[in-house]
Symmetry: D2
């Protein structure tokens, strides 16, 4: 939004009553450029005011301006006038509905898993691979048709909340120290990552659940795509391979082996991870060099002065017992990654603790920052 | 206690009002051979009844028989008639007091860290290395003197609560598949591991603390000793080396590299760990073979029919989301190790989840089982 | 079971896979007289072994004997040979199914709310009003018919988990000090009271929910019936009236005014309540007298030597900060009531804290004790 | 601050490293009139920067401007230039230190209990009894002396965190409906009310503690003073009496009987209370009238346009399960009172749920608002 920072863009939110949808409304209520004009939810909620049907679960009240917005069905014809669609739809309906919106030439920023593995859809963590957004023109070119011409529409997704923190740190490390070869990660994931009602209190109070369905595979796969390269003709993301992708067409160089265990802990918001990594290049950098590189890591979101970009994409903690979910998850409004305890690993090269706010940069904030980047890059 | 299973042995407990001390009383109230006759606490509590001074925090009431026992100072002369001393003393006083009791020829089973690295004191996890108890005669021979002849006294310690689960599993694996080379472990430790009052509720509610002082070093070091071999002359434990012990006199074979991250989670009892290991020998065993070996692992505590020995030293869970602290920590009265999610690791060879009841097999139960083993082996 | 204590009675459990059903299995696995031979669940679970279909959530494993019991549909013809039926069915199906079992002449002990307000069904808290069981013959006489003769069948219910503790204490007080006139109660109810999955972790972690649907009315109403008298002809329970029952046919004497606020707190098991009461008779008893009366309170369940009866129906705590859910809920296996902080109230006469184990005496334990009483009274 | 809203006043904070002290710093970092220039802590912390010695526990970072402020001892001579002193000192040192500051002619706003019962010190809840501030001149007149002339100094205290919510609601009710006669309150208090480290996690996780030392007496006593009247000569607060104050010199009219049970629950911030009250005047108002009165309640803090005053001193919730600590404690930045579930009581007249943010309006926010009021009233 560099050249045209005062431009106001009308936007709509799909799945506005859900957990991610509620976050979209809070973030948009303070946004200088994005003006929320339409909100969509299920058919049975339509034609009623937002506040009369939402089961609001946020710690701030419903933004004043949106309380009496009338809810629409998630049908493209109801969203006329929106230049951007943010989708917080659940994965059981997102594929069908988001496809319809794209077909009707809407740019869609999706939070669901439906299109993450789609070869035409960029999977973008805004602090990592905004360059993948340049695949958008190719997506349009492949889907346009005489009956449904697509000149503005596309689908861009963001990553699983537990992938997000990892890839930001790996990207920063690779930028300065070359390829990462191995990653061993153990997550401590917050209950809000499971949606609402999600995790039963009887399952998680005074407990840890050492398994989250599908989560380990998601992290292992998505990392390969996000850290992959956009082909020079901007038509394809070349995956970083590991054994999960043996059938994919990719170059065998710079493979990353990733081993993840995901767990659920009795924490409301904020995914913590314990991570070990090894570098391809030796000798490995010193802990000081690593801290320096992570601290000074900046992204397109910074240089393009995106409104939602954190001042410090990666904040390096020096207190030995930080980051902690409860103390650090709201720092920088949850839009940056926290890291601490960076030290030598006796098995791989180095190890450290990451904290990612799963409901902010791990979800709605990523979508909004992706939209800001897409606008700033002239792709909307 | 095979040959003489009805023998009654009088015992005393030091530090009886603390967390570990309270557990000793519960366990001893049901013990067929060990009869608690003396309880020791700080000087200001002495000469009062146990129930009048203890801040009892267990979910069962104070055992009827012990409520009115009069508390003594932790002075050897008060413990006449005790053949075994169990110590739940804090590490700030344990070294001095336990040394005094040994000097007065009492066998002492200690829970504190004071003597774990002492070259004369066996560090025994009863489900792993009861053969190390045979170092006891050498310990006596080195400390006896004309003025203080030691014929029965010694100090035996058990491991840190978070070490215990790991070494049981590693021992079972090594017994069948040869040396383990690398271990990467992330712990989720219960608050009871921090003693009372220990962790402030303001620090841990809705939170994870990714650091416990001194804990990572303890696990890395203790594992080297517990999995080490007693020298053939029964005078020395030959440590398994890693970079922490470069100055130790040990053979360089069968080194284990161990990398640990320890964290505190809002769980009352039960330490969970996520562990990856690699084997020296290739090809590595199949998951089925590993499960079979862990299931059928039995120890001296079983063959010597120790009262406190779990039927299954290692219980293998097959439900994909188990073990869990709240559901599995009391299984077998907390005296065995729980394991689950055994699967291939993309970085090392295999990975799995361990659960250890830190207040049972991780503490008082280990001491009592060590005492049972020592009696059964004729060393008391 | 005084005269015939070795008699073995075959029993069945309906709703065996639910929370209450699982508790029934644990309690019955240790019962000297009741032998579980049939377990019922939903149609889709039938003809499979119990362990293959249950989502077991208890801290002890499935009782060995019941793991491979084959599950039946909840159809009376599948339960031939059962002399007693325990029902843990949810209230959405309990009315229909329990009615069918009674019609086929089975004695049914129900945990659901369906028949609590039924004029023919005793609502029995075993530590309070076992004499109401003598309404059973009248119930049979009203429902028998030539086509469906009822000679053994009936339905007896037990109270809502949060009512149970209150009425035990009120009954003990009234027995010695005459009518209670006013009750003001605030509850702190455990999440297990809401069933599984029940309360979302996102709603209750770091929170209190000051409302539970329908719960305040249940406590206020059920108390009137449980503390009511069986008419001399044993045909009717004469309610203690309050404004909720203005249309009931009851005497206007000894009305109790009850005001309740029910809340949910992040506690797994154990309902705590803060209660103030006032007496009709003045002067009111001293705190010492009250403590003495509560301590020495005994019931039919004691005198008839029911297996599940607690030694102390009401246990009086003297530590100023007790009872507490986590420390006291399992005392006496959860079969008694805990009370503490008995003191003068500045507004009513006295106030105190009650703790009731909602999954034990508040649910399955009550049903089983009711069955023991019914057998002991010769009504089965 | 109506007439002179741009006046900048230099202030100091005593006990700046404690829980309340940290809140003062956050609030002052955004204050338009109060400029923090001095921070005091214990002697061993003095002469070091604030960030080097504080164990910061807030969810926002240390305000940028204060990170490098050098900490002083809590000695009046270090606080030259401060026109107002805010004290977050613990009660074990507050009496001595705050007295010294007053003697040196500093206005002191104290959070501790030391001076709440002092006949010369106003006990002011800013949303209730700011008129009591007019006792300040009399306080000065009684304490001034030739050697220590007091022309500006005084001590004003605010209430216990659990008293605050109650008195705001009672005041609003009495303003419209006449005297309250009886109050029965049960509290659910957050762990932050116990300071740091305060409540052990082993005591409160999965638990409720039905007792907080001294808390019930504080609420019962403080309410009598806060709702009392300043005598017409502005020299004395005339207490509202109950049996606790039989020795006080007060009029016997409009006595309030207050019965309180205080408990601790596993909630981080936000004290919830269940309250029943009865009115002296009959007939009692309708629920609608009561809601209307509470909603429209405004205070001097509003009319004097105090910066920290909440727009709605009492916010009336209409959702049946609100207010809840986690969802509502930060509303209006924690500076107002939340109320819900206002309904008839079967024992007293009405009952309702109150939520007060104990670390905001229950502590530091009250002090700051009291200071704003004192300035606005021309008393500083």
């Amino acid at each position: 939004m560099t050249t045209d920072s005062k431009r106001i863009i009308n936007v709509g939110v799909l799945g506005a009553t859900g957990t991610v949808g509620q976050r979209f409304l809070i973030l948009l209520s303070n946004h200088p450029n994005f003006k929320l004009i339409k909100i969509g939810a299920s058919k049975r909620s339509s034609n009623q005011t937002y506040q009369s049907i939402v089961k609001w679960k946020q710690t701030v009240p419903i933004p004043q301006d949106f309380q009496d917005l009338v809810v629409s069905e998630c049908d493209p014809k109801e969203f006329d006038g929106c230049e951007i669609i943010f989708s917080g739809l659940d994965s059981d309906v997102s594929e069908e509905i988001e496809t319809k919106f794209r077909l009707k030439d809407f740019p869609v920023f999706s939070n669901s898993k439906s299109f993450r593995r789609d070869g035409l859809c960029p999977l973008v963590v805004p602090l990592v691979n905004p360059d993948h957004l340049h695949q958008i023109p190719y997506q349009r070119s492949q889907l346009t048709s005489p009956s449904y011409p697509i000149t503005k529409g596309f689908i861009v997704t963001n990553a699983n909340c537990s992938t997000t923190g990892l890839v930001v740190v790996l990207k920063a490390l690779e930028s300065s120290f070359g390829p990462i070869e191995k990653v061993r990660m153990t997550t401590f994931q917050a209950i809000s990552g499971g949606g609402y009602p999600g995790v039963s209190s009887l399952d998680i109070l005074d407990n840890v659940i050492p398994y989250i369905e599908g989560e380990e595979e998601k992290i292992q796969w998505e990392t390969q795509k996000i850290l992959g390269n956009l082909s020079t003709d901007q038509t394809e993301i070349i995956l970083r391979s590991n054994e999960l992708q043996t059938s994919c067409n990719h170059t065998k160089t710079n493979r990353i082996d990733i081993s993840v265990t995901t767990t659920r802990v009795p924490v409301l918001d904020g995914h913590l991870s314990d991570v070990s990594v090894s570098f391809k290049n030796k000798p490995i950098p010193s802990i000081d060099e690593i801290q320096q590189v992570l601290k000074s890591y900046r992204t397109d979101a910074n240089s393009l002065q995106c409104f939602s970009a954190p001042q410090f994409p990666i904040f390096v903690h020096h207190q030995i017992d930080r980051p902690q979910p409860r103390l650090d998850r709201y720092f920088q409004n949850g839009s940056g990654i926290n890291i601490g305890r960076i030290r030598k690993c006796e098995v791989l090269d180095i190890k450290f603790i990451i904290l990612t706010n799963n409901v902010s940069i791990g979800a709605a904030t990523s979508s909004i920052m992706n939209a800001e980047l897409t606008v700033a890059k002239g792709l909307i």
